[in-house]
Structures are given as C-alpha cells and as structure tokens.
Subunit: 202 residues, 2 copies
DNA sequence: TGCCTTATATATCGAACGATACATAAGCCA
DNA sequence: TGGCTTATGTATCGTTCGATATATAAGGCA
C-alpha cells in the first residue's frame, strides 16, 4: 500500500518481523511481564525506534493482536479448513491443537489469544473488542465448514453445526489449558479418535 | 493445629481473610500486574506485615493457589458433586460454570487457575506442579462422579466416564474463555440443554 | 550541494517497583 | 515488673519500569 514512500531515512529493521518478535515476547511473558527491555532486545531495535514505529507499549500490544488475527496464525483452524474429508479435517484440527498446545515455537505455547491475550481483557483498553471479535470469527468459520458438508450431503441436513462448532472450540480450550500445565503430546493424542467420533455423532 | 501459639505480639488481621483478598487481586490483575501496593491495600496490612506473614510476593502467590485448591473454591465441581440426579448435576455444573464465568465477585471472573494462574506456569517457580495436580484432581473427581452413577445403575456399564469427564472439563474452559471475552449469561445458557444431552449420550 | 524528513544512538528522566532497616508496641512468661 | 518474642508503622533502600530529550546519521528532492 504505502511501501513506496521514501521520504526520510529508511528503517534498518523489518516492521513485520519485529512485530512477530514482539508478539512472541508477549506470548511468553504476558503483557505486564514483558518489559521494554525484553521487547527491544527481541525485536533488535532500540527504545526510541520502537516508540517511533509502533507507539507505546499498549499500542504495540494491540498491533501484535491484530497481526495474529489477520495472519491466519491459528494453525488448527487453517488445518480444519484445508482438508476436504470432514472426518480427517476434524482429526487434523485436533492434532494441530495438540501440537500447538505442547510445542513451543520460541517459547510460546498454546493460543496467543486464548492463553495470553484474554487475561488482559479488563486491564488493557482495546483488547476486549478484539478478543470477542476473534471468538465470533473462529466459531463462524467452524460452523461454515460444517454447513458446507451439509450442502455436499456428507452430513445430514439436521446436523447441529453450531453446537459442534462450539464443541470444537471448547475442546481446543481444554487442550490449550492442559498443554500449558505441562501435559505431553502422547497423553492427549490417545483421545483423538473418540473425540472425532463425538463431534460427528448424530 | 497451631492456633494455640501465643508467644509474641498477636496479629491484628485475619490470615485467611487477607489471603483471600490477595487472591482476588492476583485474579483480577494477574501476577505481574498485581503490585505490592495493590496487595497490601486490599489485604489491609502494611508491607512488612505481608512479608512477615506470607514471605515475598511469589510465596504469597503460591499460598493463594494452594488456598484456592484446598478450599473447594471451584463452585462448578462442588455443584456437580452435590446433586444426586446426574442429569441435574450436569445441568448445575454448567449453570455454575456460566455463572462464575460471567459474574465477577470483586472483579474476578472465570476460574482462578484456568484463567489466571495458568499464564504464569513458565514464569513463576512452583506454579506448574500445582496446576497440573489441580487438573488431575478435577478430572478425577468428575470421573468418580460418573463411575458412581454406573455402580448405581443409572448409567450403563460401558459409559465412557473418562471421556465425558474430559468433555465437561473442556466445556468449562470454553465458557471461561467466552466469559472473559465479554459474552453474557443468556447467550451461553441457551446451549445448556443440548450440552447436557451430549455429555450423557451413548 | 544544501535542505527537509525520518530513523537511529546515547543518555537519562520521574515514577513505581519489590523488598527492608529501624524503632516501637503488644502480649506471654518468669 | 522486666525480659522475651513477634507484629506493626514509618521511612526508605536500590532497581527497574515505561517513556523521552537531544544530537547525529541516512536518504530523497530541489
């Protein structure tokens, strides 16, 4: 969009990359726990550069949230939408949930929104609206996937899409919690089969 | 136990009450967000009194966690165990989950462990073990309740107790998340019926 | 080449942080 | 009552917090 502007000295860091690093710090340490030193160090820039490019700490935080929401960074949903066979799609969704709940890319575990951002709803202005919108968007995408299967005839017309979308959502929350608490992959993966069956049962 | 000790000047504050107030502050503001000023003010004591009675901030935090776990402070589980009829018990469990997810006693919403403490697992030593133990304890209590129904004959012998206990656990997590994000009671309560049926279906 | 704009680097600001030193007060026990 | 122990109140410690003032460097444009 405005990547053609060229007035003034150019930055010598990548805006998006710095934002991702900032998100990783917030994800790992939380909003209050992430100090400006932590942030500038991880982003590879100095304090004044941070303030010039992103505003203050809170604005930077909101920008990381928006980036997470817009970048399709939620792997489970991407997996769910990317697989044609609905049963496999649910399986992949759950597998991806468990993976992201246990693996820690750069120390960050779970879902940025569900595990980290949500705790700052009452504390940081601007967070509440974003989280609520993200939940609605997530559930809507899950519902849409089921509705699509109904149209294809793979699922019966009376399949309770909304109810099962909510179920997927809840299961994700449960695994995120368990993952944060230290449960390992194997312990969670054992239940995948039964859970797929539950989601599709009628 | 040692409430009969009488050497030295007695405190002029209630230990347990102060602990509850501290928990409320952590619950609302998070570990890092809760300053010593917030804590001492809510507890009604001065800094030195806090340090003498509870140790430093981290030890106080761990004590609030232990208190929460030992005091049967998780209302949904208490409700689930207190109702004889299993269908009603599940209904009450869900209703209580929704209530605690939306109402805010002294500003604290959701589950202290699931919504607040869990975010400090990698940050504060001693938290991880406690959260993992709490999850195991919760699931075990849910399972035990189902097993009890099987023995009574109310549920079939092949009822998947563990699977459904995990489901209740996950649903709780989902509602806690939604509540934190600002969903209101009514929006959640509509689904209770369907969810009870899902938990008991076979 | 100067001029304007924007980014960088250094140094540091006042405020709030977690945590204590010190002197005093309150109850038990000899 | 005098000594012991523990809690309280005041005042303040050194550190780190988030955030900036200032001066310099880098590029586009005239």
């Amino acid at each position: 969009m405005n990547d053609t502007k060229k007035i003034g000295r150019p930055r010598n860091f990548d805006y998006g990359e710095a934002l991702v690093q900032a998100m990783s710090v917030f994800w790992t340490k939380g909003y209050d726990g992430a100090s400006l030193r932590d942030l500038t160090q991880a982003m590879g820039i100095t304090g004044p550069s941070l303030y010039a490019a992103f505003g203050d700490k809170r604005e930077l935080y909101l920008k990381t949230i928006d980036h997470y929401c817009n970048a399709d960074a939620c792997a489970p949903i991407v997996a769910f939408e990317g697989e044609d066979d609905i049963e496999k799609a649910i399986h992949d969704f759950l597998a991806e949930v468990i993976r992201s709940a246990t693996e820690h890319a750069s120390g960050a575990k779970g879902c940025f929104l569900a595990s980290c951002v949500v705790t700052t709803v009452g504390q940081v202005d601007g967070v509440a609206e974003r989280v609520e919108a993200a939940i609605d968007d997530t559930e809507q995408r899950l519902v849409a996937r089921f509705e699509c299967e109904i149209e294809k005839g793979t699922l019966p017309p009376d399949f309770p899409s909304r109810e099962r979308a909510a179920l997927l959502f809840d299961i994700r929350q449960g695994y995120m919690f368990r993952g944060r608490a230290g449960w390992n992959k194997d312990r969670m993966q054992k239940d995948i089969g039964a859970r797929v069956r539950m989601v599709l049962s009628h």
